[in-house]
């Protein structure tokens, strides 16, 4: 079930109608959450519920045993790691690994056919597998590190692991943040409900009005079905893609946070207007925050972080970014995407120390950062390495451009313009106190949310799956 569907609307109405009846007692609350979440997830394919239950059971018992049997705690952590990373490897990376090995062996003169020997069940990517396995892993790792006590109640654990708002596309909520919240009877006041509604409506607006309306322009560019070319065309495509993926994913996260808030739970912000960042370091502190912090806490810092000097720090940064790329998809283009970011971050560490560069206005840095991000997105979106290189060549080939595509894709250009204006106005609102006062005085939040609600119905794009579901 996706948030932008009529099934979900009915599901959510029914869920919130019955929620007050179940939320007061611990076991009934947890059971209700688990049943609703399994229904939500099973709507795609109920067979993959066994995967969540299976990996969840491994982590639930590993968590208990790590605390109880101190002598073997490392073994149980390894069990949890194998369970989670194993299922991720089988379902997400088996084809990638097999094709890579096949072509590697072929170069060595050995003909193998690993890819055709992968069992059929492993060829299907269960929705959200990367999200819930990471969420589940953080539970056992935190217990192992002594930062969290395991829950003894299996319903409590599964209500954390499978909670439907964030189950399939995040945010990746840490057990230490959510288990405690789930242990209490949630209370919600009208201000929180209003904030929840605002998050849900604005999230839907980002997804349905902005991201979906940009998709035709971007999809036709990458499928090669249109004959447009030239630097201006590809820069527009990449800027549009930057906003499509941002609004698609940020939209999902906002809806997830809004739903949780309306239930009485708090999820941390997952996107904080990343395209207003004046450096890539800042960008990664604002983009997919739950994943960035996950990699920081469970990969980068355990490797040694910045503690082991500049060059080791850079090495760990590269490892983290390459893994982050691989997390997004089983393809070399995603790994290169991670590498481009790692390279840019490396360069940034050096040039950020140059004194005269600090005099450059912040607006220029925001633009430079955005350009770097757009260039990296080419690898993220392209169908192949060859296509990435062709597009990049086109973007930096300073020949005269045909702007006819602006008329052909007039609608997409309008929605792209709206997305940019919204981001810039948020920047203005954040920095100008008189704008904030004006906004509050005339209750502009109510007006904007009402307009967004109308736009969701009247200007919705052609319904698309959330992009991040594939990860």
């Amino acid at each position: 079930m996706v948030f932008n569907s009529l099934e979900f609307l009915l599901f959510a109405l029914l869920f919130f109608l019955l929620w007050p009846l179940f939320k007061k007692k611990d076991n009934s609350r947890w059971l209700y959450l688990v049943v609703a979440s399994f229904l939500f997830y099973g709507w795609w394919d109920w067979r993959f519920l066994f995967l969540i239950v299976g990996s969840g059971l491994i982590d639930y018992f590993s968590g208990l045993w790590i605390e109880k049997k101190q002598k073997y705690r490392k073994h149980f952590l390894i069990l949890s790691l194998i369970g989670n990373l194993g299922s991720l490897s089988v379902f997400k990376y088996s084809v990638f690994f097999a094709t890579t090995l096949d072509s590697l062996f072929l170069k060595l003169g050995v003909q193998t056919n690993l890819v055709n020997n992968i069992p059929e069940f492993a060829l299907i990517l269960p929705v959200g597998i990367s999200f819930y396995t990471f969420q589940s892993l953080s539970y056992t790792i935190d217990i192992y590190r002594g930062r969290l006590r395991p829950t003894k109640n299996i319903l409590h654990f599964f209500s954390y692991l499978s909670m439907f708002p964030q189950l399939v596309a995040g945010p990746i909520v840490r057990a230490k943040d959510l288990l405690n919240q789930l242990a209490k009877v949630p209370t919600v006041n009208t201000l929180e409900v209003w904030h929840g509604i605002k998050l849900i409506v604005f999230g839907l607006f980002q997804k349905v009005v902005i991201a979906d309306n940009l998709s035709l322009f971007i999809d036709s560019a990458f499928s090669g079905s249109k004959h447009y070319d030239g630097p201006s065309y590809w820069w527009f495509v990449m800027v549009a893609f930057a906003f499509q993926i941002y609004c698609d994913f940020s939209g999902y996260s906002l809806i997830a946070r809004g739903l949780a808030k309306t239930m009485g739970y708090h999820f941390k912000m997952n996107f904080n207007h990343p395209y207003l960042s004046s450096s890539l370091k800042e960008f990664w502190g604002r983009w997919h925050i739950s994943l960035s912090t996950w990699f920081r806490d469970y990969v980068y810092i355990p490797l040694g972080g910045a503690r082991k000097g500049l060059y080791f720090g850079l090495l760990f940064l590269w490892i983290t970014m390459l893994l982050s790329g691989l997390w997004h998809g089983a393809s070399f283009t995603f790994i290169i995407w991670g590498a481009v970011h790692a390279l840019s971050l490396t360069m940034e560490r050096f040039y950020s120390k140059i004194a005269f560069l600090k005099k450059i206005p912040k607006g220029v840095w925001i633009l430079i950062t955005f350009v770097q991000v757009c260039v990296a997105w080419v690898f993220f979106r392209a169908e192949s390495m060859e296509q990435s290189l062709i597009i990049l060549k086109s973007m930096f080939n300073w020949q005269s451009s045909d702007f006819q595509f602006l008329i052909t894709y007039f609608d997409a250009m309008v929605f792209l313009g709206i997305a940019i204006v919204i981001e810039l106005s948020i920047q203005v609102k954040r920095t100008k106190i008189n704008v904030q006062t004006f906004y509050k005085r005339f209750n502009l939040d109510l007006v904007f949310i009402a307009i967004a609600l109308v736009a969701i119905i009247m200007f919705r794009g052609e319904g698309k799956q959330f992009i991040y579901f594939q990860f």
């Binding site: 008329i407 939040d445 109510l446 009402a450």
Partner: protein, 302 residues
Amino acid sequence: MTAKHKIIFLLPIALVIGIVLKLVLPTPMLNDSYRDYCWVIKTHSTEKFNVLAVGDSRIYKGVNPAFLLNEKTELNAVNLGYSSAGYSSEYLSFVSKRIKDNGKRVVLCGITPYSFTPEALKNEHYHSFYDKNKQEVYKILFLSGYLKNFPRYSPAEIWDYFAEVPVTHLYFHDFKENGWVKSFKIPFDSTAGLIPYRKNFVDNTCDYNAVRDYLSWTEEMANNNITVIGFRPPSTLAMEQLEDSLSGFDYTNFINEFEQKGGVWLTFSLNDYSSYDGSHLHYESANEFTKNLAQKIQQFLK
């Protein structure tokens, strides 16, 4: 204003904005909820018909069932055409299931050279609707009915409307429950389809096994007292020449064999109709063509 007041006022304010916009803005050209509804009805309905028009987009845009039968008849007609449809055994079986069990029965088959190519035989458009699971079909049939009152608006259309810009680019489609799609395009360009059609036949020429299967099906229909009428849907002379030169499809042989198997072949003059892109008929021509077709099939419906 408190949060409680904001929650209370949100829907009324949105409703007022929505109503004002609905009154002020021009009606959108495309209602995609209704479009999906029409395709699903065409594919998943179990209703059976006396007269069925089958084939590719030249058929679903070119044959309007509303003009196939005279008003007083109790017979019924439908258009079961799909984009790039090919006469695969699956598609023919789908058509067979929608023919009435008795009475006067006529199947009108638009025969284009493309409809026997491997790409056409995949019937991707048909499958995109046929393969929908029950849940999706139910959703489209029952919920799209409500959604069709909420069409999607296009900024380009709104801009042109208020700026009073003469429409220079438009591809109009109006979907009908009887399977016909009323269509036209601005600018009118009867050569526009030639380049894409030229590409269509690269490594994709006539599959004679499919032709044989189709002819067997025609014979089977004829043996069951079902009249199968074949014709080449009118397009343009340039298009016909292009298709004849690239497709590997031989109309003369086909017509001979088709008639031997009990089929009836009809021919139409290209001069009587106009195509907006070199392939599909303008809706006025489609109506005209259907009326001519209706006249020619009268004898089989008496």
